[in-house]
Amino acid sequence: MKNYLKLVNFEVNRFIKVYLSLIGITVVLQLVGTFLKSKSYLKEANWMIYKEGVPVQEFLEMNGYMDLVRVLGSWWFIFPIIICIAVLLIYVFLIWYRDWFGKSTFIYRLLMLPTARINIYLAKATTIFLMVLGLVALQLVLLPIENKMIDVMIPDEFQMALTSKEAISSYHPLSVLFPNYFSDFLIYYGIGFMVVFLIFTAILFERSFQVKGIFYGIIYIAIMMGILVAPIFTVLFTGKSYLYPLELFYLEIILGILVMILSILISRYLLNKKITV
């Protein structure tokens, strides 16, 4: 356990500079975006109302109220999220391959540590999870700040007073990233973490059997996906369901957990018996 925690700390530190840059990009772009969006709304309102003489009510009917949803739908908000997701997705692969390639022979050191090798796998997975959850937490802190900025910059009569939670729910793509219910959060992120485990195991197949390993990895992921979707497909194709929807849901959760456990067990075997530096 102690070695696992040390490895997590070590892995987090290895990525911390890039991670802090991601945080920096997100904070700056989103706050600047909120500021500029509010500013341009104000400019438009001033122009229409004071220069063109459009009554406030008419302006609001034409342009709508200013609220956080306008910011959420803009590139200022979405672009840093896409960048963060893309970088973390790439890092899911890089977190392993960086130990093998380039000048680094660090994989020698990792595999020769006097600790169970599965700790390396779990530490790398934990690092990815912490990074993902960290960015989600950052976003949850940023949203109320962005909302407050709008509140401060825009006169009350031009504002639709939405809480950040209401804004997210009304903007569909974000409600997947920041679900309304904790159970949804567990499901969406549970699926995400399971995919990370599957990719990690596929990478270890490749690192153990090289070209053949890519094939094994793909087959492994396909089989696991097959297991997961089997109950749903059975219902869809036969039209019959022997389970109530809630039971089907619980079955899927159990299968998801099984897939994760299987991935860990297979990875442990590969790391102990098949991996090659």
Partner: protein
């Protein structure tokens, strides 16, 4: 150097028993067997590509073998073995961006066998600066830092892969000096090299490899005394035969 071998009635040694390994269809190890005793320097000799590094990797469980067995003091390698045996590959096994002091800290964190006093002593001996980044070290100094990280562990066995490869003459001399010091004494050492001149006089046992098979395994001192031949003489006989 051959004094410390027998402990509690069992010989302390690394036993490589009839190991085979393929890379695809190519057979790189075709039934390799030899032993390396604690307290001795065993040298695996052969040109590049004969399987020396693969044997080292196999001993450390860094690559799987197709068949055969490797035992360290009668036991298969497991996580506890890494407190007993260390491997110094031909390139430093630390992150390039680390400073030497950070690399030492990493080792101290994970290995109970880490001996800081010895590490400091080697730092001084090799004239390395703690604050130097690994990526900024010269090739010779990288090799020395690599050696430091391995030899500062209080382990029974040390495996070294081509420690003299591609480094300047003064670094080579300094590293060769390590072999005669207390840093090596009493440990079991397996070293691979294709240029044995630097350490020929220090080797206890030579294992000559070619194309994945062992051509000859011999006690260097015995051959020197009985047949009046150096290791290079025996190599000439074997490889030219």
């Amino acid at each position: 150097m051959k004094k410390l071998r027998i402990m509690r009635g069992r010989e302390k040694m690394i036993e490589v028993k009839n190991i085979t390994k393929n890379y695809g269809r190519k057979k790189v190890l075709k039934g390799v067997s030899f032993t390396a005793n604690k307290g001795e320097i065993t040298c695996l000799i052969g040109i590049n590509g004969v399987g020396k590094t693969t044997i080292m990797n196999a001993i450390m469980n860094l690559t799987p073998i197709k068949s055969g067995e490797i035992l360290i003091d009668g036991k298969k390698v497991d996580k506890a073995s890494y407190e007993k045996i260390t491997f110094i590959p031909d390139e430093i096994t630390m992150l390039q961006q680390m400073r030497i002091e950070e690399a030492m800290e990493f080792m101290k964190d994970f290995y109970t066998s880490w001996n800081q006093k010895r590490a400091d002593e080697m730092l001084h001996f090799f004239r390395l600066e703690k604050t130097d980044r690994i990526s900024e070290l010269s090739k010779g100094n990288r090799a020395k830092a690599n050696l430091l990280l391995g030899l500062a562990l209080d382990v029974d066995y040390v495996l070294m892969d081509e420690p003299f490869s591609g480094i300047d003459i003064f670094s080579r001399e300094q590293i060769a000096e390590v072999f005669t010091s207390h840093l090596i004494e009493e440990r079991g050492v397996i070293i691979t090299t294709h240029e044995i001149h630097d350490i020929e006089h220090l080797i206890d046992k030579a294992v000559l490899l070619d194309q994945g098979v062992i051509l000859k395994e011999f006690d260097a001192e015995e051959v020197r005394e009985k047949e009046g031949k150096s290791i290079v003489d025996v190599m000439r006989e074997v490889y030219r035969a």
